[in-house]
C-alpha cells in the first residue's frame, strides 16, 4: 500500500496536479458553486471553470511552443512581443479594409500575422542555431525590439476593431465551447501527435540532453532549432490574435505583456526541466491550468490586488520545491527504505 502511495508521490505530475486540486478546493470553499457549469440562453457553456479554460488558452498555447524550445535547452523570451506584433498586423489590415466584417479580410489578416511571426521565429532560430548566440540573449533582442515593431505598425495608436469574425476568435463559442479553448485543445493535441507519433520529440530531447552526442549520431540539430523556434513564434501569434480579439483592440505596449513568464512557469510547473531534455506536454497543460486557476483564485478569495504577485510567487515556489531533485530523492529514499525493510518482516513472520 505504502508502495503505491510512494509511487504516486514520485510521479512527475503529482505535485502540479495536487496543487491544481488544492486551488480548486480553495475556490469551492470560498464560492460553493464554483464548479457549476450552466448553459445560457444561446446554448453556451458558462461558469468559472469555463472561464479558466478560456482565459488560460493563450498562455497554454504559448507554453506548448515554449515546452519544445525549452526541451532543446533553449528559451524564448520574445513570445510576448510576437503576440503584440501579430495583433497589430491583424488589426491594421482589418482596419485598413473597407469591409472589416468580411471573413476573407479577417482570414488574410490572420494569415499575414502568422506569416510575419513565422519570419520572427526563423530569425530567432537563425541567431541560436547558426550564429550560436545563447537563446536567452538571442530572444531578448526580439523581446525588446518587437514592441517597437508593433508600435511602428500601429503608428503608436491603440487600434480598436469592430469585426464580428475577428471577435469570434477570442470570445466566440462553437458547439457551446469557447473558441479559444478549442484552439488551445487542438494545438496541444496536434503538438503532442506531431512530436510523439513521429521521431521529432525524440530528436528534440536528444539535442537538449547532449548536443554533441546528437550531432555525432547524425541528428540535424540546426534544422530542429529552426523548426522549434518558428513553431513557438507561430503559436505566440495565434495566442496574440486571441488576446487581441478578446480585447477588440491591438495595444503594442500591453498585448501579451509578461506572458513569456507565465508560459515558462507553466512549463516548469509541468515538470520540464530548464536544462532541456525530457519534456511533458501533459505537464505543461496542468501547469497552464494551475496558473490560470491561480489568477481566478485571487479574485474569488479576495486577495488584495497588491498581494497578487506575492501569492503567485508563493504557489510557484511551493511546487518547485516539492518537485526539486532533493525532495524527489528524499521521497525515493523513503520509498526504498520501506521496500527494503519488507523482506525482513516477512522473514520474521515465516520463522
Amino acid at each position: 500500500m505504502k508502495q503505491y502511495v510512494g509511487r504516486a508521490f514520485t510521479h512527475r505530475l503529482f505535485w502540479p496536479v495536487a496543487m491544481l486540486v488544492a486551488l480548486l478546493a480553495i475556490n469551492v470553499i470560498a464560492v460553493p458553486g464554483f464548479l457549476v457549469i450552466t448553459v445560457n440562453a444561446q446554448g453556451h457553456l458558462f461558469g468559472s471553470v469555463i472561464d479558466i479554460v478560456r482565459n488560460g488558452a493563450p498562455t497554454l498555447i504559448i507554453a506548448v511552443g515554449m515546452t519544445l524550445v525549452i526541451a532543446t535547452r533553449g528559451i524564448d523570451l520574445s513570445v510576448g512581443s510576437v503576440c503584440a506584433i501579430a495583433g497589430a498586423v491583424a488589426c491594421s489590415i482589418i482596419l485598413g479594409s473597407p469591409n472589416p466584417d468580411d471573413p476573407v479580410v479577417v482570414g488574410i489578416a490572420v494569415l499575414a500575422a502568422i506569416g510575419l511571426s513565422l519570419l520572427m521565429g526563423l530569425w530567432n532560430g537563425f541567431l541560436v542555431a547558426v550564429l550560436g548566440i545563447q537563446p536567452i540573449i538571442a530572444t531578448l533582442i526580439l523581446m525588446t525590439a518587437g514592441r517597437g515593431i508593433a508600435m511602428l505598425i500601429t503608428e503608436g495608436n491603440i487600434l480598436t476593431v469592430e469585426s464580428a469574425p475577428f471577435k469570434f476568435l477570442g470570445s466566440g463559442f462553437l458547439l457551446g465551447i469557447p473558441v479559444a479553448t478549442i484552439i488551445g485543445a487542438v494545438i496541444i493535441t496536434v503538438a503532442a501527435l506531431l512530436t510523439r507519433r513521429t521521431a521529432l520529440g525524440l530528436l528534440i530531447e536528444s539535442v537538449g540532453i547532449n548536443p554533441e552526442a546528437s550531432r555525432q549520431a547524425g541528428v540535424r540539430a540546426r534544422g530542429l532549432l529552426f523548426t522549434v523556434y518558428a513553431f513557438c513564434a507561430v503559436l505566440a501569434a495565434i495566442a496574440g490574435l486571441i488576446l487581441t480579439s478578446n480585447q477588440t483592440a491591438a495595444d503594442a505596449n500591453n498585448t501579451g505583456l509578461f506572458i513569456e513568464l507565465d508560459a515558462i512557469l507553466a512549463v516548469v510547473l509541468g515538470g520540464t526541466s530548464l536544462n532541456g531534455g525530457r519534456y511533458s506536454l501533459a505537464g505543461t497543460l496542468v501547469g497552464a491550468l494551475v496558473i490560470q486557476t491561480l489568477v481566478t483564485t485571487v479574485y474569488t478569495v479576495g486577495i488584495p490586488p497588491i498581494a497578487t504577485m506575492v501569492f503567485k510567487a508563493a504557489v510557484v515556489t511551493a511546487v518547485c520545491l516539492l518537485q526539486s531533485e532533493t525532495t524527489t530523492a528524499a521521497f525515493a529514499r523513503w520509498r526504498r527504505r520501506s521496500v527494503a525493510r519488507k523482506p525482513v518482516t516477512e522473514a520474521v513472520v515465516s520463522q
Binding site: A213, A217, G218, V339, A340
Partner: protein, 527 residues
C-alpha cells in the same frame, strides 16, 4: 553464501570496514549484503563484471548513495556520509569512473578546485599555477596548467582527475577505472605514484578490467558478482583463471573457447588485393591536430591505429568520421571523392564514428536504452519516418541480448546503467546502422574480460562479412589480435603502415616509442 574469506588479517586494523551493505535501485538489487574492508598501506582491487556493483559499492562508501542497510566504519568509527564532500573531509579521496571535471576551466583550476590557495581574501593565482604544476609534475604529466581542460584528450583529463585526488591529504584513495583510457607509459607513472602513496600508509582501492594491471599493483582482491560478494583473496594466492571464474561465475572453458575462436580464424592478411579499397585518404590534415596522413582501408579490412597518448589517433579517426573538418587532403569512398562537413554526411556514406568519450560525445544519458540504440538509425531516416515501435523493441532486445547489456529493461535511462554497459549501448547504436566503415575509438573502454572477448569476436565476424573497421585501442594486444594492418602514429604523424604478419607487442612498442626515423622523446611522460 559467499566463499570463505581466504585472506589472513594483517596485524593492523582495517581503515575501512563495510558490513552487510545492500542498495536497491528500481528493478535491480545493485548490492546485496556485501562485506568489504581495506587495510592501510595496501592496494585493494575490486573486481567483477560490468554491472557487478563495483561503482555502487564505492558510491555507498563515499556518500553518493545512501545505503538501504549495512554499516560503514572508517578508522573504527561508525560513519554515515550523506554527501561526497563529507567523505572527502573525512579523508576519502575519490576519482569516479566518469571523469567529472569542469571542461571550461583551466587544468590548474580543476586540480585545485575548492582548495585554491588564497591571499588577501582572494585566490592567489600565481601560487595556484605553481602548486598545480608541481602536482602535475608528480604524475609526470606535461601539460600547461593554464590551458583549458577541454582542449585535452580524455586520457589527459583522466590524469588531471587523478592529480586532483592524490593532492588531497587522504587516508583512503579510491580509483574507479583510472586507467581505462591510459597507455602503458601513463599507467606506469600512475603505478609509481600509487606505490609511493601506499608506502606512506594510504589504503588504495583500485578498479580495472585489465587483469595485468590488477595483478601488478594490488595486494588484495575482492570479487563481486551480481551485487553479491564472492570472496576476498590475497592477489598472489589467486590464479588468474580462478579470478576470472569467480567474476563470471562460469566454467572457464566457455571463455577459453571464446578466446580461441577470436584467435583461431585464419586471417587473410591482405584482402585488398584486386578489391577496390573502401576508403582512401590522401594527405588529410587538420592544423594543430594531425600532419597530412595517407590511409587506405580495404573492404572487410580491419586497420588498427597504434600510438601513444597525443600521437593523433583520435584526430585521424575524427577527420574520417566527419566529426572534425579537414584543412586539406582528400577523401575517397569507393572511388568517389567526398567532402565531409558533418558526422551526418559521414553516416550517409555509411561511415560511423564511435567516440572514445562516451559521456560527453556518446550516450544521451536521460534517454532510454532503446532510444539510445535507435538514435543514429532514426536520425538517418529523418524525423517524419519514425521507426515503428515494434521494430525499435526488436532492435533494442536483439542488442541487449547480443552484447549482453545488463539493464532492468529497454526503458531504463542509460544513465542508470553501469559504465561498461553504457559503452555497450553506444556500440549497439553504431552497429544498428549497419555501417560499411566502423571507426571504433576505444570501444572496449571499461568493458569486462568476458564482454571484451565477445565484442572482439563480433568485430571479427562483421569484418568477415565485408565491413571495414578502423580500430583504436590503448590495449595493444587487442589491436594485434583484430587488425589485418596496423598504422603507427607518433607525434601527430604517420610513421609506419605494416601488415600484421607475425607482429608482437614488443615490435609495436618499439615502433610506437621510437618510430622508424630519428629517436626522440615522445612525451614529457618519459622521464
Amino acid at each position: 553464501m559467499p566463499d570463505s574469506v581466504k585472506a589472513p588479517v594483517p596485524t593492523q586494523a582495517p581503515v575501512v570496514e563495510m558490513t552487510d551493505i545492500s542498495i536497491s535501485f528500481p528493478g535491480v538489487k545493485a548490492l546485496d549484503g556485501v562485506d568489504f574492508r581495506m587495510f592501510p598501506g595496501e592496494v585493494h582491487s575490486l573486481m567483477g563484471e560490468n554491472g557487478a556493483g563495483k561503482s555502487t559499492l564505492i558510491k555507498a562508501l563515499t556518500g553518493v548513495y545512501s545505503v538501504d542497510s549495512g554499516l560503514i566504519r572508517l578508522g573504527g568509527e561508525h560513519v554515515t556520509f550523506s554527501e561526497p564532500a563529507q567523505a572527502q573531509a573525512a579523508g576519502i579521496s575519490t576519482v569516479y569512473q566518469e571523469v567529472n571535471l569542469l571542461g571550461n576551466l583551466t587544468v590548474a583550476e580543476n586540480v585545485l578546485l575548492g582548495r585554491e590557495p588564497r591571499r588577501f581574501g582572494g585566490i592567489d593565482w600565481r601560487a595556484m599555477r605553481r602548486r598545480a604544476a608541481e602536482i602535475l609534475e608528480g604524475l609526470s604529466l606535461d601539460v600547461d596548467p593554464n590551458s583549458l581542460l577541454n582542449s585535452h584528450s580524455l586520457a589527459v583529463q583522466q590524469l588531471v582527475a587523478i592529480a586532483r585526488a592524490i593532492d588531497i591529504k587522504a587516508k583512503v584513495l579510491i580509483l574507479d577505472e583510472p586507467t581505462s583510457s591510459l597507455d602503458l607509459e601513463e599507467v606506469a607513472e600512475l603505478f609509481r605514484v600509487i606505490r609511493s602513496l601506499k608506502e606512506s600508509g594510504v589504503a588504495i582501492l583500485f578498479v580495472s578490467h585489465f587483469l595485468d594491471q590488477v595483478y601488478e599493483i594490488s595486494d588484495r582482491l575482492t570479487v563481486l558478482r551480481n551485487g553479491q560478494l564472492v570472496g576476498e583473496y590475497l592477489t598472489p594466492e589467486l590464479l588468474r583463471i580462478d579470478l576470472v571464474q569467480a567474476m563470471i561465475g562460469k566454467e572457464l572453458a566457455t571463455l577459453d573457447d571464446l578466446e580461441n575462436k577470436v584467435h583461431s580464424g585464419e586471417r587473410d592478411v591482405a584482402p585488398t588485393d584486386g578489391v577496390a579499397p573502401f576508403l582512401v585518404a590522401s594527405g588529410i590534415t587538420r592544423k594543430g591536430a594531425i600532419a597530412p596522413v595517407d590511409l587506405v582501408i580495404g573492404a572487410g579490412e580491419v586497420v588498427g591505429l597504434a600510438g601513444l597518448l597525443g600521437s593523433g589517433r583520435t584526430e585521424v579517426a575524427r577527420l574520417i568520421g566527419g566529426v572534425d573538418r579537414t584543412d586539406g587532403g582528400q577523401l575517397e569512398v569507393q572511388g568517389a571523392t567526398i567532402k565531409l562537413r558533418t558526422p551526418r554526411q559521414a553516416i550517409k556514406h555509411r561511415i560511423a564514428y564511435s567516440s572514445e568519450n562516451r559521456r560527453a560525445e556518446g550516450i544521451v544519458d536521460e534517454l532510454s536504452v532503446r532510444d539510445n540504440v535507435i538514435l543514429a538509425l532514426q536520425a538517418d531516416r529523418g524525423w517524419f519516418r519514425p521507426i515503428p515501435r515494434k521494430r525499435q523493441d526488436e532492435l533494442a532486445a536483439s542488442y541487449i541480448e547480443a552484447l549482453n547489456i545488463k539493464t532492468p529493461s529497454a526503458d531504463t535511462p542509460v544513465r542508470n546503467l553501469s559504465g561498461g554497459n553504457q559503452q555497450k549501448v553506444l556500440l549497439a547504436r553504431w552497429l544498428a546502422i549497419a555501417p560499411r566503415l566502423l571507426i571504433l575509438d576505444e570501444p572496449t573502454r571499461g568493458i569486462d574480460v568476458g564482454a571484451k572477448a565477445e565484442i572482439q569476436k563480433l568485430v571479427y565476424s562483421l569484418a568477415e562479412n565485408g565491413m571495414s573497421v578502423l580500430f583504436i585501442s590503448a590495449e595493444l594486444e587487442e589491436v594485434l589480435r583484430l587488425s589485418n594492418r596496423i598504422v603507427v602514429l607518433r607525434d601527430r604523424q604517420k610513421v609506419a603502415d605494416l601488415l600484421n604478419d607475425g607482429l608482437d607487442v614488443d615490435d609495436l612498442l618499439a615502433l610506437i616509442a621510437e618510430g622508424v626515423t630519428e629517436p626522440e622523446p615522445v612525451t614529457g611522460a618519459a622521464s
